[in-house]
Amino acid sequence: MRFSGLRVLREGLTGNKGWAPHWRDAEPKAEYDAIIIGGGGHGLSTAYYLAKNHGMTNIAVLEKGYIGGGNVGRNTTIVRANYMQPGNSEFYSHSLKLWEGMEQDLNYNAMHSQRGIINLCHSDGQRDAFARRGNMMIAQGDDAELLDREGVRKYLPYLDFDNVRFPIYGGLLHRRGGTARHDAVAWGYARGASDRGVDIIQQCEVTGIDIENGQVRGVQTTRGAIKAKKVGIVVAGRSGQVAAMAGMRLPIESHILQAFVTEGIKPVIDHVVSFGMGHFYISQSDKGGLVFGGDLDFYASYASRGNMPMMEHVMEAGMTLMPMIGKAKVLRSWGGIMDMTPDGSPIIDKTDTEGLFIDCGWCYGGFKAVPGSGFSFAHLMGTGNHHAPAARFRLDRFRTGRGIMDEEATGSQHNLH
């Protein structure tokens, strides 16, 4: 069924009786050409692009819970292409371009809104670092503008410019950055993949990966064994456990990242704004809630819930930066499980097992990567070759030290991002 304003009108006039499932719930078949483990944003987009770009339609997405139940539905919905390190820069640039055509491509309104992102800086050194980042963004073909203090004031007059611990020196404006309705991205890809023949199988947990003579043969699941020529692991938050089924140890620690949303209020924040002297980033959803987050809770965890110290730290940052939001009330907090790699950048690669591929390590940047990751991972799975924009996301870069993408300059060892 094609969605359109006319369709909404017609259904409205006829009692909304004609709506159909957005995607099919399929029963597992005995064998597929390819299996995607993980029905999150990345897994669903991988399936979609495998079908669309590589003509592979005899494929299944296996999801242990419900699709989109992981980080794709638990983030602060920010979409941007403002990376500096070679590797990340071209990948996120490509991903943003996919975002820009996604809704028409999927025929699904994910409310991708390019409302602009402003990263604030609070020292000369930080401003220079932002200039360097902005220069890379432009060199990559994306957009960036360096704002001085007055330039920031023009866009964000509500910030505390006067009596503040870390004065605002300026900011980096990325106009094509913005937000999207996170759940809709997963549903849109699910629908697109399903329409192209992909089997989406919920409540189907993978319990083992079958490997013979270094070649993947299929998977064991809670709904029986399924054979497959190719298997892709796309299970952010559980990457270590699933990779272990194939005898792999990953350069990943799992951490919690909390996020917060307030009660709905009338529009006060038009952009995505981030603080430079403490992790804090905020935007306002179309529904009116302020959506914001901060840093990791900083201890390995699979609990998908956080604790008060980081929660309060995030609120503190909000209060020092924009004290006009003080009376907005936090309605809900939640946590996602982040695959943290040593250098803070992701992995899209083959494994030592023939036919087994892995897409993981998105740290806290996975949402904006949903289209790009699926596109590039599908390319790798479909053709056996790395897709150029993601060609640096190698698993062995830590061992060799080649191509480390340490975006935050905090090292290529664990727990510093």
Binding site: S113, S123, G134, K287, D406
Partner: protein, 978 residues
């Protein structure tokens, strides 16, 4: 309508307040909702999506409809529950999310378009043309969305955060919580009893049943008086426990001054508490659930218990002719209480055919359902469906009850899922969901007063046993022990829209449509319809919606599962949880001993981590910072300059294995350093990248003083702790940070020794104190330390004295320097001086640089192991293609360099694929006469003399630059030894 003789309000204290500009009267003890109902105002708000007229649904914090705005400007507080906001004299409130008025709201047109605005409609449209989303559709949606508005002004109110500790936290002060607290308190436990209400007692204040010989409210007051007099008890009223966290930590919000509206006087508006407890008892009660039927949302329709609360606690009847509709015996009480109070009960409708009620002096319909209602801005009639057909009843208030949902929320905060109990058709907490928490009373599915009292006492005994305390004997008072029976009733069949989530306008149809569209998982349904995502977090609608979904998908309720409740229990202001951080409070402020002197000299202070440091010291006649900076550079190059360098980390290291520690932490050797000498050292992280650099002085055989950069002081301290505890606990070495204990000043320039010799007890010369010498020195009578080190390439010293002498010494040094044609210099000059000499800061060693990159591969000792040695040898870290540190000077038409600019080969387009490096630091060198800089360039060390392109896209600057040595001044390095 106020009812004489009822309620706990103080009728001797009348208060006036306003709502939407109109003045009303109420009494002390009223909430805005009770007072408005007393004034026969039922329309209190508009729903989120369809702007349907709404009144209070409840009498508590779970209220989804009656959201109001209190105050104006910086004090403006949106989305306040009228059912919670206590009245005070002069309270100003107004409705929200309606234009031009609550009574006539233009946006109510949405309700007419409802067929087109059902669940998830926006995912299916607004996609064409593409640009219209940001330009047209989204702005319209955004402006229509949202509830109340923030004032827009900077917060001016005080908020606070505090810690509290106890043996036992009792959450909720109804019969269960009171009995639990009393039992535990009499047994000697340190107890905190917290309740969100202004008056403790819970339902006891809203019911007519007796405890022993007295009213429930009187019993509660008696218990509270006893508890209040005990030293081991803290009663926290108006305090909502908002979250359960790990290790017995609970978050709680105390609303300190919302009930007075007073500002100032030291008391905050709110305090956010972090409560650390050994044991907890959840006695949070239960919340009555509505029934879904057509038009069940009209003002005047509320839960049956809310009607009882208004009647018994506030002496208000929400209607003159009330109807009651329920599926359980509990709802009958509402009809009986109203009737006893003299309010006309038009009908009691019970969906159960076998329902029995004693003493009813009003019409009773059993086996009947309410299937529609009439009236728009307030309820006028209901339609009931009985076995004999439909009939209409005139009524202005309908009390409804679909049964009770235990308040399980806190027990779900650690990911636990509650358990379905078919006998009460409700979820109850699963045991052990929160460690060290006992659940008791109504929130555990025990609904009679007697049962609650007993549960509370038992829970206290469980907690006391865990605390190792013997429970005191507390007699259980007599109370009603009525059984709770109901038969499930979630949604009354029929056409039209039957509301589940009142605020978000989610109807039974929406949930069914979601299921049709394959949003069959409860999480999918919630996200697709937005049910449960309103300000009540689904407290009123979750179970009902779940039941409808279960029905639509042909599953049972337990199989369908629940969504998770997440903190906070009820919304908490950002200002409360972030209290204290506004303005300068976000981070500590560290000041050096020369801070005041710098301010006196009008130096603009800049933030360096947590420290403040002077940027430059302006002199009269100077019109920009560059003039000051050039002058200060000149002091150091030509005379003598003084600079406070106390912010650098200083770590005092002593012990027989001090040298071993340093050899292991630095890439180069320190065991070979002679006593009385200083050496520059480079430290790596274990991943092989540069961690920090600095000097380290050997003061004695087993005594070193390490200097770190300002930024890395804490990091290095932690690193040393790690090495000595986790890798080499056998080493005999101790160290401590002495950053604050010593004030340290650089005295730099050709006249530096001359200046110092006028202050030192023992004069020095080049033989007694050569370059890189160090040792104790008495300066102006104070025992200090003298280091001959230089960050400017000039003949220079750093002199350290105990911090208490810092201010005096700085003044003295600056005064003497002034007399010698020099003076104080700040960060700007310091930066130029170090760039002229190619010295590094964190602009260069920014976390991604290797020793190879910065040309210090020769400092990596081959003779020993050290942290980072192995990983630094990874092929990728010593690749010849890596960007290498070089000096840069402009040779194009534009004579300016900028930090952050990119480096490209001549003739290459400034695009990512051609990028070869970037500029890390720049400064204007008075010596060289132009801007100079440092940067990282691919194979840079082999490209000396090459002219390349600098492009700064974001600053619109481009020029040609020549690659050169990083040392611009005194390349032979003679001055430093002079």
């Amino acid at each position: 309508m106020r009812i004489d003789g009822k309620g706990l309000i103080d009728r001797s204290k009348p208060l006036s307040f306003s709502f939407d500009g109109k003045s009303y009267r109420g009494f002390a003890g009223d909430t805005v909702a009770s007072a408005l109902l007393a004034n026969e105002v039922k329309l209190m708000g508009r729903s989120f999506k369809y702007h349907r007229p709404r009144g209070a649904l409840t009498a508590g914090s779970e209220e989804p409809n009656a959201l109001i705005t209190v105050g104006k400007g910086a004090q403006q507080d949106p989305n306040v529950r009228a059912t919670v906001q206590e009245l005070y004299e002069g309270l100003v409130t107004r409705s929200q999310n309606a234009w031009p008025s609550l009574d006539f709201d233009v946006m109510a047109v949405n309700d007419l378009a409802a067929p087109f605005l059902g669940a998830g409609f926006y995912y299916k449209t607004f996609m064409w043309p593409k640009k219209f989303w940001e330009a047209v559709y989204e702005p319209i949606i955004r402006n229509a969305a949202g509830l109340g508005a923030l004032g827009g002004a900077t917060n001016e109110d005080d908020y606070e955060r505090a810690y509290a500790y106890c043996d036992l936290l009792v959450i909720g002060a109804g019969p269960t919580g009171l009995m639990a607290a009393l039992t535990a308190a009499r047994s000697g436990a340190d107890v905190i009893l917290a309740d969100e209400d202004a008056v403790m007692g819970g339902r006891l204040n809203a019911e007519t049943g007796k405890i022993g010989h007295q009213s429930g409210a009187a019993w509660a007051a008696e218990v509270l008086a006893e508890l209040g007099a005990m030293d081991n008890v803290r009663l926290m009223t108006r305090t909502t426990v908002t979250g359960a966290y790990d290790g017995g930590m609970y978050g709680a919000l105390e609303r300190v001054n919302h009930h007075t509206g007073k500002r100032g006087g030291g008391a905050p508006m709110e305090t956010f508490w972090r409560i650390s407890t050994k044991q907890a008892i959840l006695a949070a009660g239960a919340i009555e659930r509505p029934v879904a039927f057509r038009n069940n949302d009209r003002p005047g329709i509320m839960t049956a218990s809310a009607v009882r609360s208004y009647l018994n606690r506030w002496g208000v009847s929400p209607g003159k002719s009330v109807t009651v509709f329920g599926n359980n015996d509990d709802a009958h009480r509402t009809a009986l209480d109203l009737s006893a109070a003299g309010v006309r009960v038009a009908a009691l409708i019970d969906s159960r055919h076998d329902a029995a009620i004693e003493g009813a002096d009003f019409p009773v319909y059993t086996g009947a359902e309410v299937c529609n209602t009439g009236g728009r801005k307030e309820l006028e009639s209901i339609t009931i469906r009985t076995t004999s057909g439909e009939q209409s009843i005139q009524t202005d208030c309908l009390a409804m009850s679909g049964g009770w949902n235990p308040t399980v929320h806190l027990t779900c905060h650690m990911n636990g899922r509650p358990t379905w109990r078919p006998d009460i058709q409700a979820f109850v907490p699963t045991e052990g969901m929160i460690p060290d928490m006992t659940v008791a009373g109504a929130c555990n599915g025990t609904f009679s007063t007697h049962g609650c009292l007993q549960d509370g006492a038992e829970a206290a005994k469980t907690a006391l046993a865990a605390l190792g305390k013997k429970p005191a004997d507390v007699a259980l008072p007599e109370a009603e022990d009525a059984p709770y029976t109901l038969s499930p009733l979630w949604a009354v069949a029929g056409k039209g829209r039957a509301w589940l989530d009142f605020q978000n306008d989610v109807s039974v149809k929406d949930v069914k449509q979601a299921a049709t569209e394959n949003f069959r998982s409860v999480e999918h349904m919630k996200r697709y319809t937005t049910q449960g995502m309103a300000t009540d977090q689904g407290k009123n609608s979750n179970v009902g919606a779940l039941a409808v979904l279960a029905d639509a998908t042909g599953r049972g309720i337990p199989e369908t599962g629940t969504t998770t409740f997440r903190p906070p229990y009820s919304p908490v202001a950002i200002a409360a949880m972030g209290a204290g951080a506004q303005g300068k409070g976000f981070a500590p402020q560290r000041m050096t001993t020369s801070h005041k002197a710098s301010l006196r000299m009008n130096a603009p202070m800049i933030e360096a981590g947590l420290w403040y440091r002077p940027s430059y010291f302006p002199k009269s006649g100077e019109t920009n910072w560059r003039q000051s900076c050039d002058r200060e550079v000149g002091y150091v190059r030509n005379a003598v300059g003084v600079c406070d360098v106390s912010t650098l980390g200083k770590i005092d290291i002593q012990g027989p294995d001090a040298a071993a520690l340093l050899d292991f932490c630095y890439t180069n050797m320190f065991s070979t350093l002679k006593e009385g000498r200083v050496r520059y050292g480079l430290m790596l992280r274990e991943d092989g990248y540069v961690l920090d650099d600095g000097t380290c002085a050997r003061l004695g055989e087993n005594h070193y003083v390490m200097t770190t950069t300002t930024a890395a002081a804490g990091l290095v301290m932690r690193h040393l702790d790690f090495v000595t505890q986790c890798l080499h606990p056998e080493w005999q070495v101790s160290f401590t940070s002495v950053t604050e204990q010593w004030a340290q000043f650089a005295v730099a320039g050709p006249k530096s020794r001359e200046l110092l010799n006028r202050l030192l007890e023992t004069e020095i010369d080049n033989e007694s104190w050569p370059f890189m010498a160090c040792g104790p020195a008495k300066i102006s009578g104070v025992d200090g330390r003298l280091f001959r080190i230089s960050f400017s390439g000039e003949h220079a010293y750093e002199v350290a004295v105990p911090a208490r002498y810092g201010a005096a010494l700085f003044d003295l040094l600056v005064e003497r320097a002034n007399q010698m044609g020099g003076g104080a210099y700040g960060m700007e000059a310091l930066n130029v001086l170090r760039i002229e000499k190619g010295f590094l800061t964190h602009a260069e060693i920014e976390g991604r640089a290797t020793a190879f990159d910065i040309g210090m591969q020769g400092m990596m000792s081959q003779k020993k192991d050290f942290i980072g040695k192995t990983m630094a040898a990874r092929p990728g870290l010593v690749d010849e293609d890596r960007p290498q540190l070089v000096g840069l000077k402009p040779v194009g038409a534009v004579k300016k360099l900028t930090a952050g600019a990119q480096l490209y080969p001549q003739g290459a387009d400034a695009v990512a694929n051609n990028l070869e490096g970037h500029i890390s630091s720049v400064g204007f060198s008075p010596d060289v006469g132009t801007f100079i800089g440092m940067g990282f360039l691919k194979r840079g060390r082999d490209r000396m003399g090459e002219v390349i392109r600098m492009v700064d896209h974001v600053r619109g600057l481009e020029t040609d630059v020549e690659v050169c040595n990083t040392v611009f001044v005194d390349q032979e390095g003679e001055r430093v030894r002079g």
